[in-house]
Symmetry: C2
Subunit: 213 residues, 2 copies
């Protein structure tokens, strides 16, 4: 959060703050902007979020908004970035001390439950990752995030199955992870009961792949 992202103005300044807030005052205002955006997304979805409304609700002018965010997508991107950082820490912690198959089984199952609850509780997260496919930058972020998360799984798998082909493990972990996100999106868009069944079915499927029968 502290580094000046503007240091690399080349490579398409996609969604990087136009100017990073250096004074206390502006840092607080940027927080208010993000909070306002978050609330609006929760209410109506990121597509329906209007820049003018964000500004008004944050108590700033339109101009101020664009002082720190190059465009509308950048706001969504900033929120998405926070979620990924948060969840990566959570995942790393959950998988860190897994030593055997049974441990992986427990840790993975718990992780999926946490994610499911998170998706159910956080309309913003749900909405952001939904629009993901349409937005190049968001898609990249999600893929990078997914790969990073898969790495944690790969590390565990390498410990459990040292003889296995690393490329194979990599592929499996990446796929399992990505499918998990798909399963979550699916689960929250059907009724609660079916959603629960789908999540359990995903767990079974994924674990069968990860730790064998």
């Amino acid at each position: 959060m502290d580094e000046k992202v503007a240091a690399k103005p080349d490579q398409a300044a996609i969604a990087s703050p136009r100017r990073s807030p250096s004074q206390q005052r502006s840092r607080e205002r940027v927080e208010r902007m993000l909070a306002a955006a978050s609330a609006l997304i929760a209410e109506q979805g990121s597509d329906a979020m209007r820049m003018g409304e964000v500004a008004e609700r944050a108590g700033v002018s339109i101009g101020s908004l664009y002082q720190f965010f190059p465009d509308k997508r950048a706001i969504v991107w900033a929120l998405a970035e926070r979620y990924t950082a948060e969840s990566q820490a959570c995942i790393a912690a959950a998988l860190k001390d897994v030593g055997d198959a049974e441990g992986l089984r427990r840790a993975f199952s718990e992780l999926v439950d946490i994610y499911y609850r998170l998706f159910l509780a956080e309309p913003v997260m749900r909405d952001i990752w939904s629009g993901t496919q349409a937005d190049k930058a968001l898609r990249e972020l999600e893929l990078a995030d997914s790969r990073a998360n898969a790495e944690f799984l790969v590390a565990v798998l390498k410990r459990l199955r040292p003889a296995a082909d690393p490329v194979q493990l990599e592929t499996t972990a990446f796929l399992v992870w990505q499918m998990g996100e798909a399963a979550m999106r699916l689960a929250i868009s059907v009724d609660r009961e079916e959603g629960g069944r789908l999540v359990e079915a995903y767990k079974r499927m994924a674990l069968r792949e990860l730790v064998g029968e």
Copy 2:
């Protein structure tokens, strides 16, 4: 295509033709509109598609566009509907005569390959299903399509495993199918080699779930 959908003006006339073309002339023009839209989506994505551009490329006026499509989303929806109809027929045919586990294995594997090639070759299909999550109506269409396709799988599974819990089979098939679409989207957004590995990994995973070890 022939029924007047306008008969039910209530319940949100989402994406239904404002007026169905009854004369030969207009039917041809609507085709041109859809073709133009398809080309533009292939080039830049449905989000970047401009109504003015569609009209121009189809050689019609903006007004004519809105004569047959209530709004922009309706055009995308119409294209999506065609793809789903087409692919459902394809799936039904592929799974129709499956009689044993080995047959399912072969049919499913082939089906996945076909889908993968389709996703690689059809940028429109890819784009449409990508934006799916953001658009309520499209999301519904995709879910309905997915359920319908899963039904074909369920029919086969019931034949192969008559003793299994129907609800369980339903859940499994739905999940497997939905994950397949996620796997496809993932596979086409990484390089070709990794994409191939991911598709194969998905096949293995899905078949393990469908026909057992």
